[in-house]
């Protein structure tokens, strides 16, 4: 076995580890009741995304992916958590969310169903590629998107909904770094900027909702509907 092959095998395993942990954090965001724990899981998820980007960077010997990793850590695991903590009052983070739409064991079962769905949805695409990194990241990334969407739907607190949205973006990027590793850097920068604006806008809106209605349980806002 040549050095190159051994290297690739090691990198594949490391990437598998990162992707597996990524999926675990996505499940954790559904299972955690406490708002602060959710935010911490999001930070870990972003670091794992950056780790996967770094591993792929070694594999493709591309500086580009290292830049992506640095941008990801900078915005998603430092700037965005800092922004969200600054903008929304501390009281909201200490709260435990009891009144989810569905209870946690049911949620985890549905989450597993979503992961299976993600594998089925990405299987027709996987036929086109023998790359082991794509075969790992694409289904896990799609699962990340679906699990994030599920978190947004079942959570009633504002901050976990924002985190669910950002986790969806993380999922798309985990798939993105392996299927489109050479996306122009300007697009990556703009996307990072865009995620930052999402956090800023939604943080400000949460703060405003708390000022006006005295709560951050956005699930209870239901005055606008058809009757």
């Amino acid at each position: 076995m040549t050095d190159l092959q051994a290297n690739t095998e090691l990198l594949t395993k490391l990437n598998g580890l990162a992707a597996g942990l990524f999926l675990l954090t996505a499940f954790g965001m559904i299972a955690m009741r406490q708002v602060l724990a959710c935010l911490k899981l999001f930070v870990w998820q972003s670091i794992l995304l950056a780790a996967s980007a770094t591993i792929l960077g070694f594999q493709h010997s591309s500086v580009h992916l290292f830049v992506v990793a640095v941008i990801t850590v900078g915005t998603k695991s430092i700037l965005i958590p800092w922004l969200l903590v600054r903008l929304v009052s501390q009281e909201a983070y200490a709260r435990r969310e009891i009144s989810q739409v569905l209870n946690i064991p049911t949620s985890l079962l549905l989450g597993m169903a979503l992961v299976i769905l993600a594998y089925f949805a990405s299987s027709p695409l996987l036929g086109a590629s023998q790359d082991p990194f794509v075969r790992m990241n694409l289904p896990v990334g799609t699962a990340g998107v679906l699990l994030g969407a599920y978190a947004v739907v079942v959570r009633r607190e504002a901050v976990p909904q924002v985190i669910g949205l950002l986790a969806m973006e993380n999922g798309s990027f985990l798939a993105g770094i392996c299927i489109a590793p050479d996306l122009p850097i300007i697009a990556e920068l703009a996307a990072a900027f865009d995620v930052l604006i999402i956090a800023l806008v939604m943080g400000l809106l949460t703060r405003r909702i708390r000022e006006r209605t005295g709560m951050t349980v956005v699930g209870k806002l239901a005055s606008l509907k058809e009757d």
Binding site: V152, L165, I198, V201, L204, S223
Partner: protein, 480 residues
């Protein structure tokens, strides 16, 4: 070059708006900026007719005549709503809250900038970012009135449309992967069409579905339309005109632009689009009957029209594409006019309830006339522009052999017509409960209503040669 100027002018106006100088500067720079953008867009449109396209940065910022058509629409509605804002904002924001007015105009310009960017960008990754920015830059315009309802609407708006954008991102990335497998070209609209025969079918299919659901959220496709009536009714009326009139149209444009790349598929996108369109038009037509708020009435009518346009794009063929594009133009100008009319009624009566507005014609003649013509036009009565668009779509549907869905669509259009006219009739005529004093509307509101009424009337009778040519080129570019 022109395209860069189009994007720079609103950015510059936004900067001028936040500078704390003078009272009228923010409003003035917005209107002047919008006028400049409109004039340059006309120039861009004319250039695309003669030369085919306008390029600022090859592969990044350029537009062909379909893009220029959307650009022109955005610029026109931007101009009328900026004029309308002058009088409207002066009435609804107290005199001493100078900062709030300046913030309104700054956000207005930024929102307009993001919508101009969608047709001006040709790189798909940038288009995605521009679409996402149209949401993020308009959230605080939706919540501008700062009531709990407005905040609720803004929250639903941003959560649902950002979820949609994340799904669409997956679709865009899959397209990029497919382009790499096909092995050539820039990741632009035209590059995509060139490369599409080399992209494996499952890639196109999966990417299209992700983008349809993702951006469909923003267009207001049933069943992910639930945010739309809330956001489009709670925002200040000029902003509603932007949201309903052109924001939905620009996003729909990005979905329809994918069509020429998908023609090689065995299970084409046509049936998906027709099903989604029929579902939206049908649901919205029945929901129209039970609304209690006249701004929600027009918001549901937007869902219905988006469905109609989507249906037309799904039929396929040059005449259906022509109908879809004509309907896009007609809907944009008419719906913007309707929301400006709704805004002037709000200025007159001060609330949004249909049941307690009666005999409007005796309280304010201009507002009542605007409402009546606007609703007749949007409901699809001849001789207005929407009638022409709907007629050509139904004709194309029958000609292409899709009789049953087309007849269903026609039924939904009729139900929608009855729904709109039933409510509006009661608002305009009838006798008011108590004798109310006549209310005068601000001059700029009347001017804005007058200008935005021009295309509503004009396009019903005849389509000017230049516009006709642009519509024809746009339809041809969809057919490949």
């Amino acid at each position: 070059m022109e395209l860069l100027v189009v994007l720079l002018v609103p950015a510059l106006s936004a900067i001028l708006c936040v500078l704390p100088i003078g009272g009228g500067l923010a409003a003035l720079s917005t209107v002047v900026g919008c006028l400049a953008v409109f004039l340059i867009s006309i120039h861009v449109a004319l250039t695309t007719i003669t030369r085919g396209h306008v390029i600022a940065f090859l592969g990044w910022i350029s537009c062909d005549s379909f893009g220029a058509l959307i650009l022109l629409l955005v610029a026109f509605v931007g101009l009328t709503t900026s004029i309308f804002s002058l009088g409207y904002i002066r009435r609804v924001v107290p005199q001493e809250r100078e900062g709030k007015k300046r913030r309104y105009y700054a956000r207005f310009n930024l929102f307009l900038l993001s919508m101009l960017a969608v047709p001006a960008f040709s790189h798909l990754a940038l288009v995605w970012i521009a679409v996402e920015l149209t949401t993020l830059l308009s959230v605080f315009l939706v919540s501008f009135e700062d009531t709990p309802e407005a905040l609720e609407a803004a929250w639903k708006y941003v959560v649902l449309t950002c979820m949609g954008a994340a799904l669409a991102l997956v679709g865009i990335l899959i397209l990029y992967w497919g382009m790499k497998i096909a092995g050539r070209g820039d990741f632009t609209w035209s590059g995509l069409i060139v490369a599409s025969p080399g992209i494996p079918g499952p890639f196109l299919q999966t990417a299209f579905l992700f983008i349809l659901v993702g951006f469909g959220t923003k267009v207001g496709l049933v069943p992910v339309h639930t945010w739309l009536p809330d956001a489009h009714s709670q925002a200040p009326s000029p902003v509603c005109a932007l949201l309903s009139g052109i924001e939905t149209t620009t996003v729909l444009y990005t979905i329809i632009r994918l069509l020429p790349a998908l023609q090689g598929l065995s299970h084409g996108p046509g049936s998906w689009l027709m099903a989604a369109g029929l579902a939206s038009a049908g649901t919205a037509a029945f929901l129209l009957l039970q609304v209690k708020d006249y701004k929600r009435l027009f918001a549901f009518s937007t869902v219905e029209h988006m469905g109609i346009i989507m249906f037309a794009a799904g039929i396929g063929g040059t005449s259906a594409y022509y109908g879809a594009n004509l309907q896009m133009v007609a809907h944009s100008v008419t719906k913007a006019f309707c929301f400006l009319a709704a805004g002037s009624i709000l200025l007159v009566v001060g609330h949004r309830e249909i049941a307690s507005v009666k005999g409007l014609i005796r309280v304010s003649r201009p507002a009542a006339l605007a409402l009546l013509t606007g609703s007749l036009a949007i409901a699809g009565a001849p001789p207005f522009a929407v009638f022409l668009g709907e007629f050509s779509i139904l004709k194309a549907g029958i000609q292409s052999g899709q009789e049953i869905p087309t007849v269903a669509l026609a039924a939904f259009i009729v139900i929608g017509f009855c729904g709109v006219m039933y409510h509006v009739n009661r608002m305009v005529f009838g006798s008011p409960d108590e004798e109310e004093a006549r209310v005068r509307l601000p001059g700029s509101v009347l001017v804005a209503l007058g200008i935005s009424a021009i295309p509503v009337f004009l396009l019903g009778g005849y389509v000017p040669g230049i516009l006709e040519e642009m519509l024809r080129l746009a339809a041809a570019s969809l057919g490949r």
